[in-house]
Symmetry: C2
């Protein structure tokens, strides 16, 4: 048995960024960039007014000004502003040639085409310089970044219309077990509905992968061996990793050029995890128990997808940590916990915000077969091997289950 | 001018849950349920073994047992187990009739079909009772819940194959401004690329709505009035709300049965927000400045979508708070802030995790035209009207910008 950390390292080191595709700006949300995107233009492209008012020369002080034209957004004043002159300007309007200050409209008295204001009302503060937000050639979003909605607006402002992104890695999912049939299908005696695959597909999609369902395979070596034919960057098997005295997945795949990297991780739930290669394709064999499957996915599958997308090298800011799931946060424990044994434990728990702090309350019942408890959970409490007993108020490591 | 809170209340009260559609389990991730989903089966449907070992009668104590059959998952033992008998059982196997205890395989010595173990090894702890996870008729996911990946696995286990969900509300987006053209298109003098709509569409999609792009409209009343023809549950205009002395959107829509609810909110950025109705369709007129647009979307558009999806009545657990954006968390301030004026402010900021606590550091530059700063932000710091100066370490209210 190896530690969770070693298993994560071995898995992550088995993947590298996959090939790329070029896509349109409109489809870029959530995709991972495979190149630095640099602005094609200054933003703003020219100095503009931040307010509605009048563009003037500051040097003229409080002298009255003659209004010689207008400059609304999109309609620059074509002439040049001279001494004693003003141009009516609106938010986003281009600062006319010759002007170096704005007087906001609230400060102005006017009659006909003459305006009056105090010298002190005249300020360059409301002029946004060309390139204030960014300059042509600035990197607006770096290689390896997952594009957010805010990035999209920024890229559009930089006149970027397409980008090279990582292809979504294909992850084949095969559910193994004679007892399984699809939800709603007739059930044999002793049969249950296959459930993990549905949750896993949604997680893979949320993390940027493309799940492909390989279906349900019975517990025979011949059937299980067919997963070697999946056209995918990663094959995930669910179940068949801890059947009786032997491991069915390993045994079945022996005929298909399977090389084991490791089997069994010192964790709870999820111990009988397999990792290896089917020819050149990595294979992650997860326990069939749905709670174990989904927790193993958060711990081991997500980092694999991150590595294929090239996001794993990025410095993680806090919100990304919330999202990436494999990273942890600290919360205060709401109730006492006994000392842990030698396996790293992931307790299903609720989060509570109280007095400006985040508290975490593990469920009393931690049976690893209870999907209902996992579905109600807000976070997993991480208990290290050999962790001593903990009391209410102790800071404790959690993995928030946000968004999946 | 009204307060942010009043604006949010007036907007939320203008929407109610929209109509529903019935969709397959495989497409349910992220959708909002319009009915309680109840389990069609007990889970497990029958008592099963949690371990590999032997099913026995506890009453027989440490007596040797004769192995009379096997019960792997999906293949129940068909007979009845009697005194002095055992059935070889595997994880997920149905507990045979007559058995009431499991001896795990590690505790057993065997020879031929006879097995030996200590009486103390015999336990009912490894029997998972029928319905341990849930019982037929239990509500697995409630009306108004946004379905997570974990919910999907739970619903599948409960044999649920389809559900009634809220239709994605259509949100029409019209960008207004003579200065705008699409990214990559030729630019007029004084022209810039329309950018807010791209970010807004991605946000609407992330929040469960269906964005429909109404395109770019010039600053003329006739053109702007065409938004009244949009086939949508909500019309959003970007720009045209603060042009010169008048409000162009209101003026243009007067001919199209527009009723104003409010105009202008005491906030920064984002003051000139409009809310009203075009006939019966709500209209949200947002400032054209992309930073204002996206912050107003988080504060006002997301709650509108939530109300249409029927999620707003749900008690928000912490991870949902992270997601919903309109809810806030507490973090410690990394640097001092001056006293605030009478407008509620939303400062762009970075989050840092340090010593088990979350710290927030507002950017020095808060110019509302700087999309590059918003894109780098992890959170918004909320500064209430009249908030006194704050010093490093002070707990402060933040809106995390997670996932968008």
């Amino acid at each position: 048995m190896i530690s969770v950390e070693e298993a994560q390292q071995r898995i992550a080191s088995a993947f590298s960024p996959i090939d790329t595709e070029t896509i349109d700006l409109a489809h870029m949300a959530g995709r991972v960039l495979a190149e630095d995107l640099t602005a094609h233009t200054d933003q703003p492209p020219f100095p503009i007014s931040a307010m509605d008012g009048y563009a003037v020369r500051a040097y003229d002080g409080g002298e009255p000004r003659r209004v010689i034209g207008t400059a609304p957004a999109g309609h620059p004043f074509k002439g040049k502003l001279g001494s004693g002159e003003a141009v009516r300007i609106f938010t986003g309007g281009v600062i006319p040639q010759g002007a170096d200050a704005i007087v906001i409209q609230e400060e102005v008295d006017g009659e006909g085409d003459m305006i009056h204001f105090n010298a002190g009302a005249c300020t360059s503060d409301y002029i946004r310089a060309a390139g204030l937000d960014f300059k042509a050639g600035d990197v607006l979003a770096a290689n390896g970044k997952r594009v957010t909605a805010r990035d999209l607006a920024l890229l559009a402002a930089g006149d970027i219309t397409y980008a090279k992104v990582r292809r979504r890695p294909r992850v084949a999912i095969a559910s193994i077990g004679d007892e399984l049939s699809r939800p709603g299908e007739p059930r044999q005696p002793g049969g249950i509905a296959a459930s993990s695959g549905y949750g896993l597909s949604a997680m893979i999609q949320a993390w940027g992968g493309a799940p492909c369902d390989f279906g349900i395979l019975p517990d025979t070596a011949q059937e299980i061996a067919t997963v070697a034919d999946a056209d995918a960057e990663l094959v995930v098997t669910l179940g068949g990793v801890s059947v009786g005295d032997h491991d069915l997945v390993q045994k079945s795949l022996g005929t298909r050029d399977f090389t084991l990297d490791f089997w069994k991780v010192a964790m709870r739930p999820g111990k009988p995890l397999i990792f290896g290669r089917l020819g050149t394709t990595p294979l992650l064999g997860m326990p069939g128990n749905p709670v174990s499957t989904l927790i193993c996915a958060i711990l081991f599958l997500r980092p694999a997808i991150d590595a294929m997308l090239g996001t794993d090298k990025q410095t993680c800011s806090l919100p990304q940590r919330f999202k990436c799931g494999c990273r942890t946060l600290t919360a205060r424990l709401k109730r006492e916990l006994p000392a842990n044994d030698s396996r790293q434990s992931y307790l299903r728990a609720r989060l509570i915000q109280e007095g400006g702090e985040v508290w975490v309350e593990p469920f009393e019942v931690q049976d690893s077969s209870m999907l209902s408890i996992l579905a109600q959970s807000d976070a997993l409490v991480v208990r290290a091997p050999g962790a001593p007993a903990a009391k209410p108020g102790d800071p404790t490591e959690i993995i928030p289950l946000d968004g999946y």
